[in-house]
């Protein structure tokens, strides 16, 4: 049984979120602090930061101005992240479920109980009835270890990760178009671009440091085009703002390409020499005239032409997108339609010219390369490719026949729990109750599990459902590497050791592996042992890290993969000379016909709902909802609504409104702003329970990547009458 033993209020009283406002020991100056050069634990920019450490406690920070990506810059999350350390909610011992909540236990008892449950479920229902979920906020070392643990120790096919909710549609599109899944350019190419398209990326709030890169591009004469249903902080002063109607991105890209082809701004030579499939795209976009595109997208025909005029003739250009185009049941198609714009003008693989998705999670890039995805083996290898299977099974010392095949993706694992096909789950670095769409279904699935184990540093809302909670490690309590959104592998140095009886995550996994009878295959004494293993396992793969070492990474302030040998400098920019990673060296165009979102507005649910982040919170908030100064900055979710729509609905600023979809409803205050389309409302998703935006969202999956459709569904909004 995985139903929580206490109600929410009782859990909150005991395990938080409580708000931490001060470092351990108070504000008084801590003398003799050590400064540890490491990185932020939050988004994919992975800013360099120096943590101030005093007596094994992180008590503050200093900017790290020498690290070249952020040069000392930080967003408010980075500034205040140290307040998660020595937090009163920190789990200090393993917890076991009782009928009155949890009791603390020894590691032996907690690990044995976990292993007994795994054995019992796998003996009774088969190995795949026990699933594992990982996360992309963890190090490359842990991502590698979790993939290996699941396949070698648990021997389940059902291992996936929360990156499935993040950018997998972009990854799949990149593989289809370029034969490789990595941002094509270092961010240092952004300021060299003369035209920048930013589509569905709220850079100012989600990747704040990249704002400086965009502004530097503008200082150098670039035209900035922002495509978003909301006028985000970077859209405010953009040269061109296209307020696209939610769910219409592929049509808009087709419309821009239509004009570029008509005006003969395509690079015929590049297309002929380096690509396949342009003629089909040309046929597809023929009907997407500015007028037709306007009718689908809600973007004026004149603005579509203007975008083509800027993009078509630019000398250099960067196209950047993020979750806004990726979180769709046609996420792969959206990304491919934007990639067409890049390929048609031939501006990729050159200084100041290229393309990239901006990864949302700290290790969103590395977390998807080393094997914690259900369809992937280390080195970004394909789990169904016989040669790749043989290489990895030999490397791990198991028979190829023992290596599981493709398993279920994150949302599908919850669907399978609903159906009773999966009975047990071990989860780390993932808070699906807050982060997966249609939260009531997620909750019911968690309640149905026969066994649920969680490795966590704080008791997340999801972990309240656990039978066993294994007290793991915060980022600063472990060491390793992460690979940033530009493909740069950087070094996380250890700042402190885990408090109390909490343990480093990977040691918990190797202990579980030993108890599952796989001790010999997990002979890791230090994190660097795992890194050596993952680097060797990646050799010859697409994501080749085999030339990297901790020392080299530190010396070079990070190394871009592929880095196939010890004297290789790494590869900041992909596709130089128009050489792509498909066997024929050519990139692929894909003709994309626009199709509507899985759930469009109608008479009953006439308003679009879209969701996203705010600058002061991160993902499901398991860390940032415990940091007082960040919570104060934006304490609770608000429903952004345009005054024109609000007037029709009789809603004033601050009124509590019910936002209702076919899946659920939430009540939140209305925030009247002219920065959102009047046919659309926006609610940020970082909160749990009755204020969770994911009670509303639609678990419709992209057919290729299985990313859910967070960015568009149909809702109603009504004022709550106060009595």
């Amino acid at each position: 049984m995985a139903t929580p033993a206490l109600d929410d209020a009782a859990f909150i009283e005991k395990y938080g979120p409580h708000l931490n406002y001060e470092p351990s020991g108070g504000w008084n100056e801590h003398s003799n602090c050590e400064l540890v050069k490491t990185h932020c634990c939050f988004c994919g920019v992975q800013c360099g930061i120096q943590l101030k450490v005093h007596e094994n406690k992180v008590v503050g920070f200093e900017p790290w101005e020498e690290f070249p990506v952020n040069r000392g810059m930080l967003c408010p999350k980075g500034v205040k992240r140290y307040l998660q350390n020595e937090h009163p909610d920190r789990l200090l011992k393993p917890l076991l479920r009782t009928d009155r909540g949890f009791r603390e236990s020894t590691w032996d008892e907690a690990l044995n109980r976990t292993v007994d449950a795994i054995r019992k479920i796998q003996n009774q229902y088969g190995r795949d009835a026990f699933a594992m979920l990982g996360g992309a906020s963890m190090t490359n070392e842990k991502a590698y270890l979790i993939g290996k643990f699941a396949r070698v120790a648990l021997r389940t096919a059902n291992i996936d990760y929360n990156g499935r909710l993040c950018m997998v549609s972009a990854g799949a599109a990149n593989k289809m178009a370029f034969g490789i899944d990595r941002a094509a350019n270092p961010w240092s190419d952004i300021p060299l671009a003369k035209a920048v398209i930013i589509s569905g990326a709220n850079i100012g709030e989600c990747f704040p440091i990249l704002t400086d890169y965009v502004w530097r591009a503008r200082d150098n004469g670039a035209k900035i085009i922002v495509i978003d249903p909301r006028m985000t902080p970077i859209a405010r002063t953009a040269d061109l703002f296209l307020p696209v109607r939610p769910g219409r991105d592929s049509a808009l890209a087709n419309g821009i390409l239509h004009v570029i082809i008509e005006r003969e701004w395509v690079d015929r030579e590049f297309i002929d020499d380096h690509t396949v499939g342009f003629d089909h795209v040309k046929e597809v976009v023929a009907k997407y005239t500015p007028g037709f595109t306007e009718s689908i997208t809600g973007v004026p025909a004149a603005s579509i032409v203007k975008a083509a005029e800027i993009w078509g003739v630019a000398e250099t250009s960067m196209l950047l997108h993020a979750r806004g185009v990726e979180h769709h049941s046609k996420g792969v198609e959206n990304c491919l339609s934007y990639i067409n714009l890049v390929l048609a003008t031939g501006r990729i693989g050159k200084p100041g010219s290229g393309y990239g998705t901006i990864t949302g999670q700290g290790n969103g890039q590395g977390g998807r390369e080393h094997g914690q995805r259900c369809n992937q083996l280390p080195g970004a290898r394909d789990i169904e490719n016989p040669a790749h299977r043989k290489f990895i099974s030999d490397f791990w010392g198991i028979a190829e026949s023992e290596l599981p095949h493709t398993g279920l993706t994150a949302c599908e694992i919850f669907d399978a729990i609903e159906k009773g096909e999966i009975r047990g789950l071990l989860s780390i670095s993932f808070n699906p109750l807050v982060s997966i769409p249609d939260a009531d279904r997620t909750r019911a699935a968690l309640n149905k599990l026969e066994f649920f184990g969680c490795i966590d540093f704080f008791l997340s809302e999801t972990a309240r459902h656990a039978d066993v909670v294994l007290a793991g490690s915060l980022q600063e309590e472990d060491e390793g590497t992460v690979t940033t959104g530009e493909g740069r592998c950087v070094r996380l140095r250890p700042s402190v050791t885990p408090p109390g009886d909490a343990r480093v995550d990977w040691q918990i996994l190797t202990d579980l592996a030993a108890r599952l009878g796989s001790k010999d295959r997990f002979p890791y004494a230090i994190a660097n042992d795992i890194f050596g293993d993952l680097a060797a396992a990646s050799k010859g793969g697409v994501a080749d890290y085999s030339g990297m070492s901790y020392a080299r990474i530190e010396q070079n302030m990070g190394i871009f993969w592929p880095c196939p040998s010890l004297n290789h400098p790494g590869t900041p920019r992909l596709f130089e000379g128009g050489l792509f990673h498909h066997p024929d060296g050519k990139a692929r165009f894909h003709g994309i016909e626009y199709r509507p979102p899985a759930e469009d507005v109608d008479k009953d649910y006439p308003i679009f709902l879209t969701t996203g982040r705010v600058v002061s919170q991160y993902l499901s908030g398991n860390q940032t909802r415990r940091i007082g100064p960040l919570v104060d900055q934006y304490p609770e979710p608000l429903c952004e609504i345009h005054p024109l729509l609000a007037a029709k609905l009789g809603i004033a600023n601050g009124n509590v409104v019910v936002v209702r979809t076919r899946r659920g409803e939430i009540s939140v205050p209305a925030q009247l702003v002219r920065t959102v389309r009047p046919d659309t409302v926006f609610v940020p998703y970082h909160w749990p329970g009755k204020k969770s935006a994911n009670l509303l969202t639609n678990r419709a999956l992209d057919p290729i990547s299985k990313i859910p459709e967070y960015k568009v569904c149909a809702c109603r909004v009504e004022k709550v009458e106060t009595t």
Binding site: Y21, W27, E29, G60, F61, P63, E65, N70, G72, M73, L74, C75, P76, V79, G204, E205, P208, I209, T211, D212, W215, R216, D219, M231, P233, R236, T237, F241, L242, P243, E294, G298, V299, P300, A301, S303, V601, D602, K603, P606, I607, V615, S616, P629, Q633, H642, L644, L645, K648, L649, G650, N653, Q671, L672, V673, R674, T675, V676, R677, D679
Partner: protein, 205 residues
């Protein structure tokens, strides 16, 4: 730092408040920010104004202080109030033409930005300008700003008949093109903006 000046460009600001959060981390006043940042009018726009002290050449705050609690040093820095002197009268709060000083009731004292005197006096950049992700707050030389940016620094402001000259420079756009704020200004003119079906639902659909 020799030749280093402070430049503010609100047009670059993304309202993230990293500056305010980081100011709170400075050793001499940990736990309290001495700068502030407000949306100008969030209903209209995401435009925000980061407010650090402008460090006037002839500071009104110091002139109106009945307790002589606000001191200016030779380097042009106008310091925060001296605790033993400040009587919490808020004269300075009312007098400042830029809305900088804030009275902190908990400690019955006015606190304001001293351009990170503890950091700048030992060759570091001010905390807010170091962390600012948009570099709306910039600390560097006049030559750097001239080379990098099209906006021009100004440090002379007119308030009625009074001219105020400041140490901190405000970046001014080369042309002041009107910016549209409302998303509907960027939508097709023919578009009704609010879907008709909304009416059906709200009024009897």
């Amino acid at each position: 730092m020799n030749g280093f000046e402070f430049f503010i460009d609100p047009s670059r600001c993304i309202a993230c408040k990293a500056c305010v959060q980081a100011c709170m981390e400075c050793d001499t006043h940990r736990g309290r920010a001495m700068i502030h940042l407000e949306f100008v009018d969030r209903a209209l726009s995401t435009q925000a104004a980061p407010v650090v002290c402008m460090h006037c050449e002839d500071p009104a705050c110091a002139r109106v202080c009945p307790a002589d609690a606000i001191k200016q040093t030779e380097d042009g820095i106008v310091h925060s109030s001296l605790k033993p002197r400040c009587i919490g009268c808020s004269n300075c709060v009312l007098a400042c033409p830029f809305g900088v000083p804030q009275y902190v009731a908990q400690i019955d004292q006015m606190m304001k930005c001293d351009m990170c005197f503890d950091r700048t006096s030992i060759g570091k950049k001010p905390m807010c300008a170091t962390v600012c992700p948009s570099q709306a707050l910039y600390y560097g030389t006049a030559e750097e700003i001239e080379r990098m940016r099209v906006e021009k620094p100004i440090n002379e402001f007119q308030f009625g008949n009074q001219t105020v000259r400041t140490k901190v420079r405000l970046m001014s756009a080369p042309s002041s093109a009107r910016l549209d704020f409302d998303v509907t200004s960027f939508m097709p003119e023919t578009d009704n903006h609010v879907p008709e079906i909304t009416e059906l639902v709200v009024w009897g659909g």
